[in-house]
């Protein structure tokens, strides 16, 4: 490179999602990890109700303790333009009649968003329209892995073992709950897990040991999502997580972890806030105390699953494992894991800076790969249609 200009990375966090607060924490961690000498970080905070804001104060976690962040000095409304020529943010002017809105060029977008509107392919669609490289899975991989029901369908097709499930919609549940309850109990024995199809971070998930608890859990889950699934809970299973990073044929799996609060099931606060320093200090065993052969199998399965859902960038793949029976069941794929699974990659020699830089690099590589596609194809269709009098409605496509 003859002249490498500093890359501008827009880190998006917050978002219209129940995981809004987790995303703020992840976003702050990511912004801190970028080395200032090579990267110019533009924070983009999406409020709970979907306003887009940018400005330096958004880089301070303390500024988010109350809801007044939008009123802070230096915080301005912005939007990510889908017009490819802007290639970045349009930032609204501060007060003043003669000020013009300005365009801030963005080299890479880094969505630190969890759950709906961030991890489900919707914001990725905007990046695609804007033609800006972005970190993490593309629209398909995000949307797919965000949905637990469809993920299982795809993974079964790829020969990866997953637990059986019983899926239904909220509409069906409201119309004939007893019929569904009977069906579930015919299919599985207690204990069971009830999950909304698309939420992460354990939100809306309930464990049921009895028909009464099952009914209550489904009621809760159906509040969070239109689609619900019920799975058997493996009483003798342990939870094992593995992160995957890469693009295409060059993917690698991380060291494994075993989250420790399995027996009492992690509550939301447990999972993210124990110790007050985010996810890093949640109780876990790293590396997970399982045999090398099982570890290897889980790592290989993780990469295969990542590729099966057209993953790219990073993901964390969660399993239920019965070590003594040598059984593994892939549970879910998180296309934007909390804290980027820093704590796992650290074990493999990646510092937080290494990780965000690698992910930024992967985003650019993926974008270069996309450039190999042809998007402009000259046809004379419009001329032809115009000549044939398409205006008068006589033309036929």
């Amino acid at each position: 490179m003859s002249r490498r200009r500093r890359q501008t990375v827009a880190v998006l966090f917050g978002g219209r999602s129940v995981e809004h607060d987790v995303s703020i924490v992840t976003g702050q961690q990511i912004m801190r990890a970028f080395p200032a000498e090579r990267y110019d970080v533009a924070p983009v905070y999406i409020t709970r109700d979907g306003r887009w804001l940018t400005g330096e104060p958004l880089r301070e976690l303390d500024n988010f303790t109350d809801d007044g962040v939008a009123q802070l000095d230096g915080v301005r409304a912005c939007l990510l333009s889908p017009d490819t020529r802007h290639h970045g943010l349009i930032i609204q002017p501060l007060a003043g009649r003669f000020r013009k809105s300005e365009v801030k060029r963005v080299d890479v977008c880094f969505p630190a968003l969890h759950g709906t509107h961030g991890e489900d392919g919707s914001v990725q669609g905007l990046f695609e329209l804007a033609d800006i490289p972005y970190v993490g899975c593309a629209t398909l991989g995000s949307a797919l892995s965000n949905d637990k029901i469809v993920t299982k369908v795809v993974l079964r097709g790829a020969g990866i073992s997953v637990l059986d499930d019983f899926a239904f919609t909220r509409e069906e549940w409201l119309a004939r709950p007893d019929e569904l309850l009977a069906g579930i109990q015919r299919a599985f024995d207690f204990p069971l897990f009830v999950k909304p199809a698309t939420l992460g971070s354990s939100i809306g998930i309930g464990r049921a040991d009895s028909p009464e608890l099952l009914r209550a859990s489904i009621d809760i889950a159906a509040n969070f999502d239109r689609r619900v699934l019920v799975e058997p809970a493996l009483a003798d299973g342990i939870e094992i997580n593995c992160s995957v990073m890469g693009f295409g044929s060059a993917c690698q799996a991380s060291t494994l972890e075993q989250p420790l609060s399995w027996d009492a099931f992690l509550s939301y606060e447990d999972k993210y806030l124990r110790g007050g320093e985010g996810m890093k200090s949640a109780d876990r065993l790293v590396p997970a105390p399982i045999s090398p052969s099982l570890t290897k199998r889980i790592q290989e399965t993780s990469v295969a699953a990542f590729r099966a859902v057209d993953g790219r960038g990073i993901a964390r793949v969660d399993y239920l494992v019965r070590p003594e029976r040598d059984e593994i069941y892939l549970n879910e794929i998180n296309s934007m894991p909390g804290s980027l699974a820093f704590y796992l990659w650290r074990e493999d020699g990646f510092s937080a800076s290494d990780l965000v830089e690698r992910l930024t690099q992967l985003a650019i590589e993926a974008h270069v790969e996309k450039r190999r596609n042809i998007y402009e194809y000259q046809t004379s269709l419009v001329d032809l249609a115009a000549r044939r009098g398409a205006k008068s409605g006589k033309g036929k496509a």
Binding site: M1, S2, R3, R5, T84, R85, H86, H87, G88, V103, R105, D131, V368, R371, R372
Partner: protein, 545 residues
Amino acid sequence: MLELLQLAPALIWLAGAWARVYRLARFYQIEEYMNRRFLRWQAASWRRLIPPRSATAWLAGWAMAWLAAADSSSAGLSLALSAAALIAVYPPRAGEIKRGLVLTDRLKRMLAASTLLCGLALVALLILGERVPAFARQPGMSASAGALVFLLAPLWLVAGNFLAQPVEETLRRRYLRQAAATLGRIDPTVIGITGSYGKTTTKHFLREIMSARYQTYATPQSYNTLMGISLAINRDLAEDYRTEYFISEMGAYVEGEIARICQLTPPDIAIVTEVGPQHLERFGSLENVKRAKYELIKSLGRDGVAVLNWDNPYIREMAAAGHPGRIIAVSRQLSLDEAREQGVDWLASEMEPSLRGLRFRATHLPTGESALLETPVLGAHNASNLLLCIAAARHEGVAMRDIVGRVRGLQPAESRLALSTTASGVTIINDAYSANPQGIVSALQTLGMNRAGGRLLITPGMIELGELQETENRRLGKLAAQHATDIILVGAAQTKPILEGIQSASFDMRRARVVDSLSEAVDWYRENLSAGDAVLFLNDLPDTY
């Protein structure tokens, strides 16, 4: 009433002068508003300077007026003079027009000034005619004044241009400032390309190759002057924040021009394609050409990179002259050992030019990275152009496999050794744009590759080569005799050295003919060529030749 009738002949002449100014503007534009070149073109032919029909009509009118002197104010005389004026100024039939007038804003301002000047000049002459006793009330005085205004039409054009200068200068400055601000805001990496020839082709190739990885903008067509590049920036780059690379073709007809362009678009990478006797007429000497192109290398910053065609001796001299940045040298002519010895970075080998395209291997000597490239682009000389692009693109981090893919999909720039086949099966090789001593060798070799049938060359020869023009054209003739089976030369005067060259190569002179216009040549080939034959259109001269 009679007064008005007496003025009529002058007004007709004036209208004629206006029309002539407008007609001449096209040629003035082709000569890029350079007064000396334009006036020299005017003066080159008497018929052009003083149109014979106009002169005759004026003389006839004047004689009539003289004979009718006794009754100098009669309406009849005025009518006769008006008729003579009408005959004189009636526009001549336009010849072959290859490039029509482009009504730019600048030209409009200039034409307005010229039109105004014509009018003012006539009024001044008429007043003068009234005041000076020797002329006053002379028969045909007003008609003669009008005729003079008509005769001086080329001067009004030049004077109009001169008059509009201050306005142009102000607009120019504002425009340049705007372009500089735009470029600063978008802040792309700038790649400057210069050379006597091969610039546009190389720019076109490089844009395609760089686009494999980066959002790349290249100045369109031949926008290679300071104002052309500013125009491109202001028009295309202003709102385009995604642009990562800006490729700017820098042309020069005078020393200092490239330095000025570099001030506007400071290059991070400089590519020099070829230096040779192109536009020598305007530069004066090859030494000046060299100095002009060196300005690009000189403008590089400390961490700048110059990508140079090492096969060109003038460019090697430039490199020796010192430079602030790093040098990447490419060659397609040296052997591996020679290349190593001279520190060449990229070497082309295993060259296989054919009628279907070009194959060669590009090797990066310092690392040994190597790739076999295939392209539908014709002509061995394009291996040099491609090698320059490959060197620059690899330096900027474009992957070799992307380069290979892009090179395979390249199309020749329009009218630059482009191959097509007509419905009747005749292969047309179009190299109509600015032929040069390097390019013609490739072009003729390409023609020579057609073994399926006849090989026709149509060319008006090369121009603007200054003192080398005769020698180079004679060489063209000899080469043509080697590769072509039929030759049509367009225009007798400037193709004389070619004809001599052909003769000296003992070519069957019955198969060589000289015609007056391109359309005659085209007619001939339409009638005489059939499937399997190939025709090469080599160079296309501006209308001023």
